[in-house]
């Protein structure tokens, strides 16, 4: 009874202690908080503020709830309390949990404040608010805080922009410009493109009004309001007119303004009038110079040059068709005079440059011819750099290979009355591509009266080639120039042969210099698609450079790889995937059948040109094996590889430089390529037989390897090897005969049955017999042994 009393007393004391603990108090306050009795709950949380680590957070939650419920003028006091307590939280309190409540309280406060912003609020009020938001370092709720900041910046930007408008209206341009600039910065930060461009546009307008507009100011606007853009561009065009920059003014009017507006039409007419005035002034100058030129007896080169340049410049710059036509008519005559002047002075480079400055000079046969003549004379007269030579060689070839150039030049010959000229063997394109021909040009047979144009073309090429060789012999040019000439010549010949159309066929260097190669490569690619003639792609390779055709590019890669393989093969350098460094090219080469076959033929020729010593070298054999393993066209190479190994192993075995097993190992690789190669199989059968005898006689080294080879061959035996393995059957029969003739039939039986009684030597006989049978196609119960079984 006493014990029970003690327990009750202790229980009561314990309970008294418990109800006074902070945990108990916290639970009560939390219940009150859940019941939304924030004031009561707050009081208890405050009591245990220092004692319970959750109390400060829950206290702040009560304050937050009270902020939400309180009228706007009271909210600030709760907020300040939460913020102040955040700075001195008791130890052990979860700071981030408290921050979340603090952030929530602040964003709620800011959002309410933002919602209550009035249109009449001053810029100062908004800026102060923005500062307040920016100064609060929130740790959560970034999206909501950023939304408030952006909204405030936008409102501030609009206010600043409106202030600037007012200042601009009061002609206070400098201050207005500053305000537009401030607004533009705010809108730029907000990525508000329309408001940003409007602010910049207005700033530019103010700069134009102030006369402080600079060329660095932005010119293109895509997002600004069209009314502001029109205002800006009109003022800009007006400014250019004032500065007499009529070309620029015209660009602005044409590109940015709509001439439906009367003001724009007026400005446009003014620009036209002024431009025409300026062009006509230039026409007057040209007229004066023309008069001077016509009156002088001697041709004045400076005058012709100036006149040509002025006329050419005006022709390309004027917007008035009448002027362009009139000056355009003047140009050929001036061009001829200037060209003749330069040519006669021996300034062939200057004359050629003049031709090259003519837009698409290659479309005019007389210009292409003159370009060729200049190139010829440059070669004859001067010592040229290789880089210059390339262009001149290309121009010369493009000129001579062009039939139309030759046909046109016939007009200039006065001695040809009795002759006609035939294109039957000309170097250029066929009849289809030339169009209408002069009456004295035909495609008839060559005779004394019907002169070959082709012969004249070849004569010209011959002359040029003789000149090149002579210069090279004199040490004036390098051999690479002659090589370049021949590569360009081959390329243009191939192009003319491959493509029969009206298009100009230039040599590669000229084509690439003037961007004519793209179309050539395209044409060749589509012809290839129709015909699958790889020659067409090969023809496109010299013209490739930056042209897009993936087919010609792929062929070029394959061709390069093919050359690299042949080159390395010939020079005995090792060929491997790493050295070739192009899996793409290897697969490309596989797709071009003709090139693949051609490559294989060249590899074989290169191989056959080697001496026996080089052919038998391991590196040469390995290169051939790599070629077989990597390239699809390889059947001839495989046979060559097999024959070579057969020859090599016979020589080495006969000279005792190679064991039978080494020989069989080598032949095994070739067998993998050509399992039905007769000589290979014959040699292998001989080696297998010899090695089996070595095995029986316990003379064989490398038994394991030997068995591996035989086991592998056994499962993959070719018809040819089976046929050649008749010698194994003979050998087997001969061994059996020996056993029988020596009277050891019992031993033979044990061997044939593989009896457990067999000695180690007998076991070898047994295993050898199994191989004999496997390769010769015999079975243990057939042949002479059959009789043996009858004996026992």
């Amino acid at each position: 009874m006493e014990v029970l009393g003690v327990i009750i007393v202790l229980g009561l004391i314990g309970y008294a202690i418990y109800i006074n603990t902070s945990n108990y108090r916290y639970d009560i306050a939390n219940n009150l908080l859940n019941k939304r009795d924030f004031h009561e709950a707050k009081g208890i949380f405050l009591e245990i503020y220092e004692k319970h680590k959750e109390a400060p957070i829950s206290y702040a939650k009560c304050q937050l709830a009270l902020i939400k419920a309180a009228p706007s003028n009271v909210r600030i006091s709760f907020l300040k309390d939460i913020a102040a307590r955040a700075k001195s939280l008791p130890r052990g309190v979860d700071q981030s949990a408290y921050s979340r409540v603090n952030d929530e309280a602040h964003i709620f406060f800011f959002e309410k404040k933002y919602d209550n912003i009035k249109a009449s609020d001053s810029l100062v009020v908004l800026k102060t608010f923005l500062k307040e938001v920016e100064n609060f370092k929130n740790k959560s709720l970034n999206t909501r805080f950023n939304k408030i900041k952006s909204g405030l910046k936008q409102k501030i930007g609009v206010l600043v922009f409106n202030q600037a408008l007012q200042l601009e209206g009061k002609m206070n341009f400098e201050e207005a410009n500053e305000k537009y600039s401030e607004a533009a910065s705010l809108f730029k930060a907000l990525s508000n493109k329309t408001s940003f461009e409007n602010a910049v546009l207005r700033g530019n307008i103010v700069s134009l009004k102030l006369g402080s507009f600079t060329e660095s100011n932005q010119l293109n606007f895509e997002n600004g309001d069209s009314v502001i853009k029109d205002d800006y561009y009109f003022r800009l065009a007006h400014k250019y007119c004032f500065e007499k920059q009529f070309t620029r003014a015209q660009e602005i009017v044409e590109n940015y303004l709509n001439d439906a507006h009367p003001g724009v039409t007026e400005l446009k007419n003014y620009i036209d009038y002024q431009t025409l005035e300026a062009d006509l002034q230039e026409v007057d100058v040209i007229n004066e110079k023309v008069a001077l030129l016509l009156s002088s007896k001697e041709t004045q080169s400076n005058l012709v040059l100036e006149l040509f340049n002025r006329t050419q410049a005006l022709t390309s710059s004027t917007v008035f068709n009448e002027i362009r036509e009139a000056t355009g008519k003047l140009l050929p005559s001036l061009f001829n005079r200037l060209f003749t002047l330069r040519f006669n002075e021996g300034d062939f480079k200057g004359a050629l440059n003049l031709i090259c400055s003519y837009d698409q000079f290659w479309t005019k046969p007389e210009l292409l011819k003159n370009a060729g003549v200049c190139a010829y004379n440059l070669f004859e007269a001067e010592n040229l750099m290789f880089s210059d030579m390339k262009e001149f060689i290309s121009i010369w070839l493009s000129s001579v290979f062009n039939d139309r150039v030759l046909i046109n030049s016939l007009d200039k010959t006065a001695w040809d009355d009795a002759y006609s000229f035939t294109l039957i063997d000309s170097l250029g394109s066929s009849s289809k591509s030339l169009g209408r021909l002069p009456s004295n040009v035909n495609f008839g047979e060559i005779d004394e009266e019907n002169i070959s144009i082709g012969a004249a073309q070849r004569e010209l090429l011959n002359r040029f080639e003789l000149m090149l060789v002579a210069k090279q012999e004199q040490g004036l040019i390098e051999i690479e120039s002659i090589d370049f000439y021949h590569s360009e010549k081959a390329a243009i010949e191939n192009l003319i042969e491959a493509v029969d159309d009206k298009n100009f066929k230039p040599a590669p260097c000229l084509a690439k210099t003037h961007g004519l190669n793209e179309e050539i490569v395209e044409v060749l690619s589509s012809l290839y698609d129709e015909t699958k003639d790889e020659g067409l792609l090969r023809c496109g390779v010299p013209y490739l450079e930056s042209a897009k055709s993936s087919k010609v590019r792929s062929y070029a890669q394959a061709l390069k790889l093919s050359e690299m393989v042949i080159e390395r093969f010939k020079s005995g350098l090792s060929i491997s995937k790493t050295q070739l460094n192009s899996n793409t090219a290897i697969s490309a080469l596989k797709t071009f059948n003709t090139l693949s076959i051609h490559t294989e033929t060249r590899v074989i020729n290169a191989f056959n040109n080697f001496s026996e010593e080089v052919r038998f070298k391991k590196s040469t054999r390995d290169n051939l094996a790599f070629y077989i393993d990597s390239f699809s066209s390889n059947s001839k190479c495989k046979s060559l590889y097999a024959k070579t190994l057969a020859d090599y192993t016979v020589r080495e075995v006969n000279d005792d430089k190679m064991s039978y097993l080494e020989a069989l190992t080598l032949l095994g690789k070739a067998y993998g390529y050509v399992p039905n190669h007769q000589r290979l199989c014959q040699n292998m059968a001989f080696l297998i037989k010899a090695l089996l005898f070595e095995y029986i006689n316990e003379e064989l080294r490398g038994v394991k390897k030997f068995k591996e080879i035989l086991d592998s061959l056994k499962t993959n035996i070719s018809e040819e090897l089976k046929r050649e393995c008749y010698i194994l059957k003979e050998a087997r029969d001969s061994i059996i005969e020996q056993f029988i003739s020596s009277g050891n039939t019992q031993g033979l039986t044990l061997i044939m049955t593989g009896s457990y009684q067999l000695s180690a030597s007998g076991r070898k006989f047994h295993e050898a017999f199994k191989y004999f049978d496997a390769f010769s196609g015999t079975k243990s119960d057939l042949g002479p042994t059959n009789n043996l079984f009858g004996l026992f």
């Binding site: 009038y273 030129l293 030049s409 200039k412 010959t413 002169i451 010209l460 002359r463």
Partner: protein, 93 residues
């Protein structure tokens, strides 16, 4: 290779007989070596080679004798002062 017409001192329209005469004359005058004269004569006597020789004379583009250009400005004379820069003003008053 020198210009065969220059060596023989004849024009591009020379006939066969003129070439023969010029060759003999050039041989007499000896301004050029006999080999050069022979090569020039052979070239101009052979139509294909003569065509090649003619090719190396520069040609001319078709052109007319240059004349003065006569064009009038038919636009009415205008002054920029009469066009206000504020014509498209976007600033609301």
């Amino acid at each position: 290779m020198k210009n065969p017409y220059l060596i023989l001192g004849i024009g591009q329209d020379a006939t066969k007989s003129e070439i023969k005469k010029a060759t003999l004359l050039a041989m007499k005058e000896r301004k050029y070596s006999i080999k050069e004269i022979q090569t020039a004569a052979s070239m101009l006597s052979h139509p294909s080679k003569r065509l090649a020789a003619d090719f190396l004379f520069p040609g001319k583009m078709k052109s007319k004798r240059p004349n003065k250009i006569s064009i009038k400005n038919e636009f009415k004379p205008m002054s920029l002062e009469n066009i206000s820069a504020d014509s498209l003003c976007s600033l609301k008053k």
